[in-house]
Amino acid sequence: MAAIETSNLTKQYEDTIALQAFDLTVERGEIFGFLGPNGAGKSTTIDILLDFVRPTDGEAEVAGHDPQQSPRKVRRDIGVLPDDYALYDSLTGREHIELAVSLNDSGEDPESVLARVGLADSGDEAVGSYSKGMSQRLAFGMALVGDPAVLVLDEPSSGIDPNGVQEIREMIREEADRGTTVFFSTHILEQVEAVCDRVGIIDGGELVAVDTIDGIRDRFDSHSTLSLSVDATPTDLELTDIDGVSTVEIAEGCVEVGLTDDDAKSTVITRVEASGASVTDIEIEEASLGELFARLTTEEADA
C-alpha cells in the first residue's frame, strides 16, 4: 500500500482545469518533492488529499483511505503544514499543541513537541505575538503530533528567513529518518535538490515528470558547460568537430564549451593546449535543475 496514490484525479472549475487526469504514487518512507510553479495544481492536490476540496473525477488515497469517505482516518494518518493558514491569536503555543494532542488522542507531552520545533521557551506566549517563523514552526509541531505516517508540507518555507528554511529542512530529514513519508510541495528548486528522494514536476494541472533528481537530469539529455581560462586567446580550434561538443564561445582569455557528453572534455582541453595557449583554470558546471525545470515547463506550455 502506497503512502499516497491518485488515479485519474481531475478537478475542474467552471472555466479552468486545476488538475487533469493526475496519476501519482508516493511510496512509504520516501521524501517526495512536488515541484511546480504557482498555480500549477500543487495546492489543489493537497486540498483533495485532506478533503478540503472534492475532485470532479478520479480517486485519491492516503495510506489506503479515501479522504472523502474517511476524512478522520486520513487526517489521523496525515500531518499537514498547510499553505495560507492561520493560527488562533489568543491561544498560546502550548494550547495549540494541546489542541492537536487532544484531537489525535495521542497523549504526547506538549513540552517535548514544543522542544522538537525549538519553541520550548515560547510555549506560554499567545500566538498573536509570534513571528512568522515561530508560527510556521508551531504549525509544523502540530503536524508532527500523533506521529503521522505521512507528512504533507505545502510550501513550508514561504515567508520565512533562510535560517528558518534550513531548520525546516533539518526537521524534514529528521522525520524521514523516523520512517515518515514526507510529501512537500514547493516552487523552489533548491529545496527539492537538497532533500528529496524523488521529484514530481507538475505544470498546468498535469504531472510532467516523476523521477529521481539524477533520473531527471539523465532523462533530459544532461548538458554541462566546460569553462577554460587561457593565457592567450586561441583561434581556429574547430572544436565543434569533436563528438559531444554542442556549442563553443571564445572570448578574451576564456573558452566556453557546451558538452552533451562529458567524455569529450579531455579532447577539448588537449586541442586547446595544442594550439599553444596554456589552460590556467578549468570549471565544469552541470546543468542546473533550474534549466531542466524551465525546459520542462516551457515544453509543456508549447505542447
Partner: protein, 283 residues
Amino acid sequence: MNALRVIAQKDFKHSLRTRSIWVIAGAMTVLSLSHVLSFMSTPIADQHTRPFILAVAQFTLWLPLAAIGVGFKSVVGERSSGSIRVLLGQPGTRRDVVFGTYLGRSLILTTTVLLSLVVMGVVVAVGFGGIEAVDVIGGTIALLLFALAWIGLTVGVSSFVASETRAIGLVMGTYALVEPLWRNLVLPLFSFAFTGSSRVPSQATVFYSLDEPTWYLYVNRLSPAEAFNAARYYVPELIEGVLYGTAVPGPHAPNVFGLAVLLGWATIPVVVGYRRFESAELQ
C-alpha cells in the same frame, strides 16, 4: 464525539479571551439595564407584580444583536482566516467543526447572559424590593432559550455562507424581519393571507390573553422575540404549576408551540448550515 468536545473547548477558550466578545456582552447588559432603570421610577413599576419577568423582557432587543456579534464569524471566520486548514488538518470532521463551534459559542453566550442576569437580578431586587424565585428560574430558562435560538441561527448562517459579509448581511436581515419589521411588515402579510385584511390584532399585554384569533397565537410566535415574550410568562407559570399544583392560566398549545419555535431556531439553521458546509469547498 471527542473531536467535537475538543473543538467546543477550543472555541470557548478562544472566545473567552476575545475582547470584542466582552465589549458586546457589556453593551448588552448596560443597554438592557438602562430600560429597567428608566421604568423603575414610573407607575408601571408600581403596578407590576413580577418585576424580574418585566426586566428580562428588556433583553428582547439587545440579546439578538449580542448573539450576532458573538457568533457571525464563528465558522466562516475560520474559513476566511485559514485556521480551518490547521484545524481540519487534525483528526476531526466538518461536523465536529460546526457542532463543536455551535456548542462553544452557545456556552460563551450563555455565560455572558447569566452574568448580565446576575447584574439585572441585583438591580431588580434592590430597586423593586425583592424578586420571586420562580420568576428568576422561569425567566432565566426562557431567556436562555431565546439566546440559544439566536446563537443557533447565527452559527448556522456562519456555516452556510462563504464570506463574513454575507454572514452578517443574512443574519441582520433576519433580525430586521423578526424584530423591527415583524409587526409592521411580516405580520400584516400573514394577516392578509389568513383573514384577507392586513390589520394585525393589537398586541396582548400578557401571554394568556385569549382575545386574539387562533392563527395569530401561532404565527406571532414564529418570531423568536414573540415566542420569548410568551415564554417568559409561560415558563414560570409552568414551574409554579408543577411545584404547587396550581392551574396554569392561558392555553398550553400556542405556548408549547412557542417553546418549540425557539428550539427550532436553535437547531434547524445549524443543521442546514452544516449540510451546506459539508459540501463546500474549503479553499
